[in-house]
C-alpha cells in the first residue's frame, strides 16, 4: 500500500509541476503583454521613467502565484490518479480496488505499478512567453523619442522653408533687400515653421504663399531694374565699341558728340552702379575727346558691370525668384553688335541725336508703343431709314405650312409674282365639261393592299 501511495504521490508531483509550469507560463505571458502595453502607454503619455516602470515586475510575481493556485486546483485527486495508473499499468481494476479493499493474495499477482509518461506540448506556450518577454524588453528599451506622442501634429514644410530661406539669402547677398528686412523675413519664416500645424494646414500654406509672393515681388522689381540697367550699359558698351573700332571713320563733329554722349551715359550709369564707378577710368577733362585707352577701359568696365548684373539674375533664377523669360530677356538686351554703327550714326546725324540713334541701333525698329489715339464719332441711327413693305402671296404662305427646311440662306427671299396652280391631288390634270376621265395610276403595292382587303375573311 505504501509503495502504491509513493508511486501515486510521485505521479501527482510530476503532474502538478507540469500543470503549474503550464498555468504560470500562460499567466506570465498575459501579464507580459499587459505590462508591455502599459509601459508604452505610460511612456508615451506621461514620459514616465523606465526605472519606475520596472516595478511592473511585481505583477509577474502575482501572476506566478495565481498560476500556482489555479494549477493546484486543477491537479487530479489521488483516486483519479490511481485509476489512471491502473489503466496504464493494465491492472484490471486491482489497483483501484486496493484503495478501499485489502488485496490479499492478489497483491502478488498484481502487475507492477508503472509511471506513465506525461507529455506536455508546450512549444507554443514557450513561444508565446518568449514573445511577451521580448515585447516587455522592447517597450522598456525603446528610445523615448519613438514612443512620445506630440500633442500637436506638426506639418512638414521643411522643403518649402528651405527654399524660401535660400531665396532670402540670395536677396540679402545681392543687396536687393536690406539686412533689417532680411532679418524680419527670416524671423517670420522661422516662426512659420515653428507654428506649422497639421490641424490647420491652410493657414500655414497661405502664410508660406504670402512670404513667397513678397520675395517674388522684390525679385521682380530688382530684375526689372537689372534689365533697364543692362539695356543702358549695353547701349554704352556698343557705342564705346563702335568708337574704338570705327571712330576713325567718323566725322569730327559726330565723333565728339558720340564721345560726349558716351561720357554722359557712363557717368549716369556710374551713379547707380558702384562697381562701374570704381572700374571706370578718370573721365575728367574734355568729355568730347576720349582716348583709345579710355574707351577700352570704359568698354571693359561696362562688360564687367553687365556680367555682374547677369550673375545676379542667374542667382535669382537659381533661387526660383525670377522666371526663365526674364533671364533670357536680360541676355537678349545685353547683346548689341557695333559693326556698322558709325555709318548708322552718320546717316541719322541730321534727324536724331547720337543718344537717340544708339537706342534705335540696339533696340532696332519696332512697332512702337502702340498707344494710338482713339477717336469717337457720332453713333449711327435708324432715323430716316425707310423699309419697303412686301406682301407675300397667300399660296406661298399656305405652302410653308407643309414645307420642310432644306437649308438656310442669308440672302433675301425671292418673290415670284405668278400664281402657280396646285400640282398635287387626285384631280390633278382634270378639266371640267369636256367629258374627259381621270386616269389614276395604281402602283403595284397598292394593288396588293386592295387585293388583300377584298380577300379578307
Amino acid at each position: 500500500m505504501n509503495a502504491d501511495n509513493k508511486t501515486i504521490s510521485k505521479f501527482r508531483i510530476k503532474m502538478a509541476a507540469i500543470l503549474i509550469l503550464r498555468r504560470t507560463l500562460t499567466l506570465a505571458t498575459v501579464w507580459g503583454l499587459v505590462w508591455g502595453t502599459a509601459i508604452i502607454v505610460l511612456r508615451a503619455v506621461s514620459g514616465m521613467s523606465t526605472l519606475i516602470l520596472f516595478s511592473g515586475g511585481v505583477g509577474l510575481i502575482l501572476a506566478i502565484a495565481c498560476g500556482v493556485l489555479l494549477a493546484l486546483r486543477q491537479i487530479p485527486t489521488r483516486t483519479t490518479l490511481r485509476a489512471s495508473l491502473d489503466k496504464y499499468s493494465g491492472a484490471g481494476g486491482l489497483m483501484m480496488a486496493a484503495e478501499t479493499a485489502e488485496l490479499g493474495n492478489w497483491r502478488e499477482r498484481m502487475p507492477a505499478m508503472r509511471l506513465p509518461r506525461l507529455r506536455w506540448r508546450g512549444g507554443v506556450a514557450w513561444a508565446r512567453f518568449a514573445g511577451a518577454a521580448l515585447f516587455v524588453c522592447v517597450s522598456l528599451l525603446i528610445p523615448q523619442r519613438f514612443v512620445e506622442i506630440s500633442k500637436t501634429q506638426s506639418l512638414d514644410i521643411r522643403e518649402e522653408v528651405k527654399q524660401l530661406a535660400e531665396g532670402i539669402d540670395v536677396l540679402k547677398e545681392e543687396e536687393i533687400i536690406g539686412l533689417t528686412e532680411a532679418e524680419k523675413l527670416e524671423e517670420k519664416l522661422a516662426q512659420l515653421q515653428a507654428e506649422a500645424s497639421g490641424e490647420d494646414p491652410v493657414k500655414t500654406w497661405e502664410a508660406l504663399d504670402h512670404l513667397s509672393d513678397a520675395l517674388m515681388q522684390e525679385s521682380a522689381e530688382a530684375a526689372q531694374e537689372a534689365l533697364s540697367e543692362t539695356e543702358r550699359l549695353t547701349e554704352a558698351e556698343t557705342l564705346s565699341e563702335g568708337l574704338i573700332n570705327e571712330g576713325s571713320e567718323m566725322e569730327a563733329g559726330l565723333l565728339a558728340e558720340s564721345m560726349a554722349t558716351l561720357s554722359g551715359l557712363v557717368q549716369e550709369a556710374a551713379q547707380e552702379d558702384a562697381l562701374l564707378a570704381t572700374e571706370l577710368p578718370d573721365l575728367k577733362g574734355d568729355a568730347n575727346s576720349l582716348t583709345l585707352e579710355q574707351l577700352k577701359a570704359i568698354s571693359a568696365a561696362l562688360r564687367l558691370s553687365k556680367s555682374e548684373i547677369s550673375d545676379r539674375l542667374a542667382k535669382l533664377y537659381a533661387a526660383n525668384l525670377i522666371d526663365l523669360e526674364t533671364l533670357k530677356a536680360a541676355e537678349r538686351l545685353g547683346q548689341c553688335d557695333s559693326e556698322g554703327l558709325a555709318a548708322f550714326l552718320a546717316e541719322n546725324a541730321d534727324s536724331k541725336s547720337v543718344a537717340q540713334s544708339i537706342g534705335g541701333w540696339c533696340r532696332g525698329v519696332d512697332r512702337g508703343p502702340g498707344d494710338a489715339p482713339m477717336t469717337w464719332t457720332d453713333g449711327t441711327t435708324e432715323e430716316g431709314a425707310k423699309f419697303k413693305t412686301e406682301i407675300l402671296p397667300l399660296s406661298d404662305i399656305a405652302s410653308l405650312e407643309d414645307s420642310e427646311i432644306v437649308g438656310l440662306s442669308v440672302v433675301a427671299p425671292s418673290i415670284e409674282t405668278s400664281n402657280p396652280t396646285s400640282q398635287s391631288g387626285a384631280l390633278n390634270g382634270a378639266a371640267t365639261g369636256g367629258g374627259s376621265s381621270v386616269t389614276q395610276t395604281v402602283l403595284p403595292r397598292h394593288k396588293g393592299a386592295v387585293k388583300r382587303y377584298f380577300e379578307r375573311p
Binding site: 479493499a101 499477482r109 509511471l115
Partner: protein
C-alpha cells in the same frame, strides 16, 4: 449486495479460480460445438452470468438457434422454444386457465402454464409476433413472474430469454418496442462465418449437425458462478465511467460527442448503466479478475448500448449506425476523468 461488504472481502484467487475454470469449460464446449463463434460465445456467457436476456440478430442459418440449444444443454437447464408467428397469442406463451373436472366431479378453472415457465426461453423470430404477444413477455423479462387473472406466479430461477430476430424479410414483422428492447441486456449480431470456419463445418460435421456436449454444468455450479459474480468488485472510478458513458449518450449531456448531438434521438436509460455494470462484472470474471477494469466496460459497452440508443433519420441518410456512435463515445471519453488540458497527454511508459 454492498460494495462496502465487498471491499472488506475481496474475492481471493482460490475462490475465484474454480469459477473461472467453469466458465472456461463452458466456453471451450461452446467453441467445440459451434465453430468460429468464440467472441459471440463469450458475450453470450457474459449475458448468462449477468442473468440478462439476450437478443440475437442475424440472417437465417448462421446458428442462432443452435447456439441457444447448445447453451441449454450445457447449463442443464429447462429449455423451451417458441416460434413466434403473427397469430401467436399471449396465452400461448404465458399460459391460460382451462376448465377441468376434479376427481370429486366438480369443475374448476386450473392454470395451464405456458412455455415461459422454463429456465431458458428461446423466442425464435420474436419480431414476427404482434406487439400484444411481444408485450406478454415484458413482465416475465423484468419481474421474472407472470400475472394472470390477478395471480402472480414466479418463473423458475434462473430465467433467461434468448430471442432471435431476422434483419431481413421485414414484411409482416413488428419491430420490437423500445420498452422491450430495453429489457434485453445485449443485442448481439451473429455474423456470417468466414471461409475457414465454413470449411471446418462442412468437413467435420455431417449435415452440419453439431456434436452433443461432452459435459454439462449442474445447477449448483451455475449458482456458484452467480455467487462469485456477486462478489466481483466494481471500483468507484469504473462505476463513474459507466455512468458518464451512459449519460454521454444523451444529446444534451456535456460529455456527449458531436455525433451524439447530431444523430441521437433517444439515449440509453439507467437500466443500460445497470446492465453495463453487471456485464462488466461477468467480463472481469471471464478474465479471471476479482475486480472490474475499464477494459471490461469497453468490452460490453457496444452490445449493451447499441439497441438502446435510438438514432434519427439523419443518421440513416448519413449511413451512421449505433456502433459508430458508441465507438466514437468510447474513443472520446477519458476513462479516468482526469480532465487534462488538450496539450497535456499521458502515455504508457
Amino acid at each position: 449486495m454492498s460494495d462496502n461488504i465487498q471491499s472488506e472481502n475481496l474475492l481471493q484467487p482460490e475462490e475465484l479460480n474454480p469459477a473461472v475454470e467453469l466458465t472456461e469449460k463452458v466456453l471451450a464446449e461452446l467453441d467445440h460445438i459451434l465453430l468460429g463463434r468464440a467472441a459471440l460465445h463469450r458475450m453470450v456467457l457474459i449475458g448468462i452470468l449477468s442473468q440478462g436476456h439476450i437478443l440475437l440478430e442475424g440472417v437465417p442459418g448462421v446458428g442462432k438457434t443452435a447456439l441457444v440449444k447448445a447453451l441449454g444443454q450445457l447449463l442443464s437447464l429447462d429449455f423451451n422454444r417458441v416460434q413466434f408467428t403473427p397469430d401467436l397469442m399471449p396465452g400461448d406463451i404465458v399460459g391460460t386457465h382451462i376448465l377441468q373436472q376434479t376427481p370429486e366431479g366438480q369443475r374448476e378453472m386450473s392454470f395451464q402454464a405456458g412455455p415461459v415457465f422454463t429456465n431458458i426461453l428461446l423466442a425464435d423470430e420474436i419480431n414476427r409476433a404482434s406487439p400484444k404477444t411481444q408485450s406478454a413477455l415484458l413482465e416475465a423479462m423484468q419481474e421474472r413472474s407472470v400475472t394472470l387473472l390477478g395471480n402472480t406466479r414466479p418463473l423458475p430461477t434462473p430465467f433467461f430469454v434468448l430471442a432471435s430476430q431476422n434483419p431481413i424479410e421485414l414484411e409482416g414483422t413488428y419491430p420490437l418496442p423500445e420498452a422491450q428492447l430495453d429489457r434485453f441486456l445485449f443485442k448481439l449480431i451473429v455474423p456470417h462465418a468466414d471461409v475457414d470456419v465454413l470449411d471446418d463445418i462442412i468437413s467435420t460435421r455431417r449435415r452440419g449437425e453439431p456434436p452433443a456436449p461432452a459435459w454439462s454444468m449442474s445447477a449448483e455450479q451455475l449458482q456458484q458462478l452467480f455467487d462469485v459474480m456477486d462478489r466481483i468488485f466494481l471500483p468507484k472510478p469504473v462505476s463513474r465511467y459507466i455512468s458518464r458513458l451512459t449519460a454521454a449518450t444523451h444529446p444534451s449531456a456535456p460529455e456527449s460527442t458531436e455525433a451524439v448531438r447530431k444523430y441521437v434521438t433517444y439515449a440509453a436509460s439507467p437500466r443500460a448503466a445497470i446492465a453495463m455494470a453487471e456485464a462488466s462484472r461477468a467480463s472481469a470474471l471471464l478474465a479471471g479478475r476479482p475486480t472490474v477494469g475499464f477494459e471490461d466496460v469497453k468490452t460490453v459497452a457496444s452490445s449493451v448500448l447499441n439497441h438502446r440508443v435510438i438514432l434519427n433519420y439523419q443518421a440513416r441518410f448519413d449511413g451512421v449506425d449505433t456502433f459508430a456512435i458508441v465507438d466514437g463515445l468510447l474513443a472520446a471519453l477519458d476513462e479516468t476523468d482526469l480532465n487534462l488540458p488538450d496539450d497535456l497527454e499521458i502515455r504508457s511508459a
